[in-house]
Amino acid sequence: MNLAEGVQLVSFIILTVMMLGAALAVVLSPNIVYSAFLLGGVFSAMAGLYLLLNASFVAAAQILVYVGAINVLILFAIMLVNKREDFAPVKYAWTRKIVTAAVCGGLFLLLGTTIITTPWAIDSTAAAGDEAIYILGEHFFTDFLLPFELVSVLLLMALIGAIVLARRDIIPDSSNVVGQDDLKLPEKPRELVSAGADGESS
């Protein structure tokens, strides 16, 4: 093993440990705010792994989109739904967790066996490296042109839809009796359940 390979291996190990540790903490941490920040750690470690895989453009995109947009969005969402909420305990929560953990462990073993036993057709051509960005551009405007254009429609619609759903409406909530039925399904709910359903209106 020469020096370059050694450095790669060490950085791979560090990044993977960081990624998996942060991911476990995201899932297990009792505090949602810590989870959100650690998610940023997962995304950054992932970007490091992409660099090891000779993909500098995707690594940059990962940082920009995942850390810069998605993670910030999640933090905003946590701020907006900022209510210190102690979830009522549910019966058998522990059994459910243990069973799920066992299933996930089994899934990992299965995937691991698959990965190790499959003879991957390794191609030893030199990697595109820094040329990758030119090749990506070429792909986007030739054989991946159609999905590229469709994504633009999808993003436009997601933008419109997210605004429609998340914006507050001009109709005042409580005082206006006429507005109460607005923005609701015309069908009555089957029974009146808990706080949110104030469906009885003739």
Partner: protein, 101 residues
């Protein structure tokens, strides 16, 4: 460095995502778990792209698409979450039981 290392790391991340998806009670954390699963897929694609397809790098193209769509999905998911929070004043998955058969 071997392809298998990356794939194993991706598989582990995927399983952590599945675990979080099933056990989380906070809806925001469920969304985070889905992001973890998508990231695992991305790592898979990038590893394949580097080791099996180093000259044409279709895997990198795929990853860029997955990243952009994950962003759209997260935005829509959080918008839906906000509207449900406004009506029900909770993000606890166990409380979302108006619809049961």
């Amino acid at each position: 460095m071997q392809l298998q290392y990356f794939l194993l790391a991706a598989a582990a991340l995927f399983c952590i995502g599945v675990y979080g998806l099933v056990t989380s009670r906070n809806a925001v954390r469920v969304l985070m778990s889905i992001e973890l699963m998508l990231n695992a897929v991305n790592l898979n694609l990038m590893a394949f792209s580097n080791y099996l397809d180093p000259a044409v790098i279709r895997g990198q193209v795929f990853t860029v698409f997955v990243i952009s769509i994950a962003a759209a999905e997260a935005a829509v998911g959080l918008a839906i979450l906000l509207s449900i929070y406004r009506n029900r004043n909770t993000v606890d998955m166990e409380q979302f039981n108006l619809l049961k058969w």
